[in-house]
Amino acid sequence: MSKYNGLSGIQFLLGNHAIAEGALAAGCRYFAGYPITPASEIAERMSERMPQVGGRFIQMEDEIGSIFSVVGASLAGVKAMTATASAGYNYMQEGIGFAVTLEVPCVIVDVQRTRQDIQPTQADVMQVRWGTSGDYEIICLAPSSVQEAFDLMIEAFNFAEKYRNPVVVMCDSLISHTRGKVVIPDKINIIDRKTPKMPTEEYLPFKAEEDGVPPMSKIGDGYRVLYTMNPHDEKGRIIDVATNPDIYEKLYDRICGKILHDADKIAKYETHFLNDADIAVVSYGIEARISLDAVIKARKEGIKAANVKLTTVWPVPSRLLEDISERVKTIIVPEMNLGKYFREVQRVCRGKTRLVSMPKNRGQPHTTEEILNVIRKESR
């Protein structure tokens, strides 16, 4: 693989190009995708950049092919990703389930959009969490700016490699199609998956180490792993669930447990003015940027409002939400959908404080004024 000639300094990038560059900076060297607006610029950028950095790009026949070829590349030891938009994400669910169960690190970008004229939305927030069959956990990060689109791709690959789990970067057509300033850090912290060090005959490919994650071998290295989607034991042997319910239960407890156990470490967020706040606006993605603007304006009017931006959307940052619910009188949750994530906030905070859902399902984000008006109303 040739040397990575990455970007440096201050750049002015399209959101989708920032996503591609962030991935390359994280060490991604395989991209497979299928064209779909408004995610296509990620594939276009990758098709040009991958051969320059010693990686490989392929446009597959559909989204199913894309995600499975990403899984294949990752099994061969290469950091891999795909990118799609809402309707294309549907097709990827099968492969995401495969990657979760076989613990194959990979990153999937979902640029959320409405049908027809690709207006922004956050209507996929539940589909990225609950789309594939069986029990699983997923890590999902939501950028709210072009800078974050770059930064969170690095976080996403690091989480994927650390936990051997697919990570979804969930943005929307507004972030993807906005050009913005991106400061490329001089030093980038990169995490690579653990590899087995023991003799081949001692390696148990699905036995976790202390951190809950098994080391991962790669195709061609002699460890001869059977990767089967069927229920399997620590060695990878297929088991019958009827006669081995304990092994089955343990397998999924561990796959989910490694994420849930570290939920607090995975939870990334930003809070503004929380210390003395009576009202907190909790949101993610582009909505979090607008709500910050509204909170700043509310503060100027003397209202004790706070902004809470959830960078990690899944797993739900429960401890943070519990903490906020004990501090403030009202939590407002603006969303570009029918009010889906609000239910998660309800699950965590119900009975502890007043909760206000602010859905907007019109293919556009809230305006500052809309959020400000609700803050004003709740402050009275």
Binding site: A76, G95, I219, R224, Y227, M229, N230
Partner: protein, 276 residues
């Protein structure tokens, strides 16, 4: 005790196998092991990719890198492995449902790209694992679990499909042709490009009982041998005469740049451009 010479390739802890008595999958496993033994291949440089169905269980018994368990996605997984590490020798085991129904588009696209992998298609012309339902390769009029009054559809000729899509090595045999199967697998693995080997196999449990009315696997294997027609002879027969026959032989063997070769050429151009 006398042991099979190729048991060294098997995962002993995966045995005994779960295939039906008389199933052709065991024979095909045996043919494949003979092929890699005779070629003296390094199993550690191989990846065996497989899907879902009876035939997809074949490599599960082999001690190697094996990817198993999603229906029809063998070709995309193989594409990712091969592009990420072209040194890996990828063999795909797939069935008629896995390859031609749910994985049909992936199959023709991989052939079109001349992806340098070997595909062993086990064609038992029925869905065995799910209880004997009609497949895209089930002959017209055949009785299956979902065509109790006879199949009203026409079957695929998967060798013709592979050829039309761009496969550069194509052959068809049956489980009743052990040496030809072994030789075809050897040739397919050595061939640079997309190799497609169809092995028509017996499913005594479903196709044998439902479609052919056989009670014994032996009858089925004899039937496969008696109904196979070498392609040279088939060229002189009418479509009507060939309707119930299985045309066997080598159909395509040609050299074309593979996907990886094309990709590496492009990378050279990029490097020249970057260095200039």
């Amino acid at each position: 005790m006398k042991v099979h010479p190729n048991i060294k390739f098997l995962r002993r802890d995966a045995l005994p196998h779960g295939l039906c008595p008389g199933c052709g999958c065991g024979q095909i496993l045996n043919y494949f092991l003979y092929a890699i033994d005779e070629l003296k291949l390094d199993i550690d440089k191989m990846a065996l990719v497989t899907g879902v169905g009876c035939s997809s269980r074949i490599p599960v018994y082999i001690d190697a890198y094996v990817i198993h368990g999603v229906h029809g996605r063998t070709f995309p997984i193989a594409t990712g492995i091969k592009l990420a590490n072209p040194e890996v020798n990828v063999v795909i085991f797939t069935g008629d449902g896995d390859c031609a129904a749910i994985g049909g588009n992936h199959f023709i696209q991989a052939a079109r790209r001349n992806l340098d992998v070997t595909t062993i298609l086990v064609n038992n012309r029925i869905y065995g694992m799910t209880g004997g339902q009609v497949a895209p390769t089930t002959p017209s009029d055949a009785i299956t679990s979902t065509t109790p009054l006879g199949n009203v559809e026409c079957p695929f000729d998967l060798c013709k499909l592979a050829e039309a899509a761009g496969a550069t090595y194509v052959s068809r045999w049956t489980t009743a042709h052990p040496r030809s199967c072994i030789n075809a697998i050897k040739k397919g693995i050595q061939h640079k490009g997309f190799s497609f080997i169809e092995i028509v196999s017996q499913c005594p449990t479903y196709f044998g009982r439902y479609a052919l009315g056989f009670r014994e696997p032996e009858q089925f294997i004899n039937w496969l041998r008696e109904n196979s027609v070498p392609k040279e002879k088939a060229n002189k027969m009418s479509p009507e005469e060939l309707r119930t026959k299985i045309v066997v032989g080598e159909f395509v063997e040609k050299r074309k740049p593979t996907l990886i070769e094309q990709y590496m050429e492009m990378e050279k151009r990029v490097r020249r451009h970057v260095n200039a």
